[in-house]
Symmetry: C2
Subunit: 184 residues, 2 copies
């Protein structure tokens, strides 16, 4: 039932308050856990959605102030180096997510091509199916080259001999079903 809500301001005040209370509790628990598990100084201040409310000051107003003062007394160098501003945080996050997206896309592409490759091994008339565009064919060719190289290397290993000339007659044993798109 926890519909994946979008990460944006909740319009209805009632729902917003409910979510605030639920999540505030969760965050306080997390803070307490981190503090206990790692024995690190932590503090947080959280204002409520209703402006008249007093903020939560965790673990206590005094300690919050102490931590702030402690921070202020750090040498400038340390203060400035790693300041994680909200903006920076977002930028870092975006960068990481985009990087991951790239990796995943690449992986997907590779899986797709590998799947095509294996299908081709089983079905030689794939040319007629009009499902391959130029890019696919190029990647397919590239993958074929890679597979050839792998085969060559494996043969070398099995023979335990110096590299013979590149042309070898290999018996491609058509793989039956691709369990996970990663056969040779």
């Amino acid at each position: 039932m926890p519909k994946k809500i979008k990460l944006e301001l909740i319009p209805e005040m009632a729902a917003r308050k409910a979510t605030f209370n639920r999540r505030k509790k969760g965050i306080m628990k997390k803070l307490h856990e981190l503090h206990t598990l790692c024995d690190v100084p932590i503090c947080a201040v959280i204002y409520g959605p209703c402006k008249e409310e007093e903020p939560i000051v965790w673990p206590s107003p005094l300690e919050v102030e102490n931590m702030i003062n402690l921070y202020k007394n750090l040498p400038e160098i340390q203060q400035c180096r790693k300041k994680v501003t909200h903006e920076e945080y977002l930028k870092q996050r975006i960068a990481r997510v985009e990087e991951k997206l790239k990796r995943v896309r690449k992986k997907n592409r590779k899986l797709k091509i590998t799947k095509l490759f294996n299908e081709c091994l089983k079905n030689k008339d794939f040319h007629d199916q009009n499902i391959l565009d130029v890019t696919d064919l190029k990647d397919l060719s590239k993958l074929a080259d890679e597979k050839m190289k792998l085969i060559d290397e494996r043969i070398e290993t099995l023979m335990g001999n110096p590299p013979p000339p590149p042309q070898i007659g290999t018996s491609r044993s058509a793989a039956a079903g691709e369990p996970n798109g990663e056969e040779i």
Copy 2:
């Protein structure tokens, strides 16, 4: 694989650091989400387990300071009323958990007795089984009284008449199987 780790200081420094990094990331995400979903002012300062590290100051040192100042300017009354100190937080938490424990125990007890009750309806020789102690028998008797009362009420409802004298010959239809221990 996430073995349920105990909520206490992690002894091995390596594991502690790993956990710290993982959880710090999680908490920052939560803070960001709460901030976005509810549009409330939030800030947090988190020092690392290595004393030389600079703390994370979120969302930014300036804003943290502003929030602190804002807080300091609140009228004393508001400042003092709801100060959630770490200790208070723990006390509240303990109180709530204990309360819940109580509720659950009560519920368990009731389920157990109801189960016994239903078994008795099916099997009259339960006296021989030596599985009931005095408390059980007392609770059982109490439950029987309650059930009787429920039956009386239901009969009254069905008759739509003024309450007849308490003695009624009721036909106890022995319930077949207790689906969830909550039959009459």
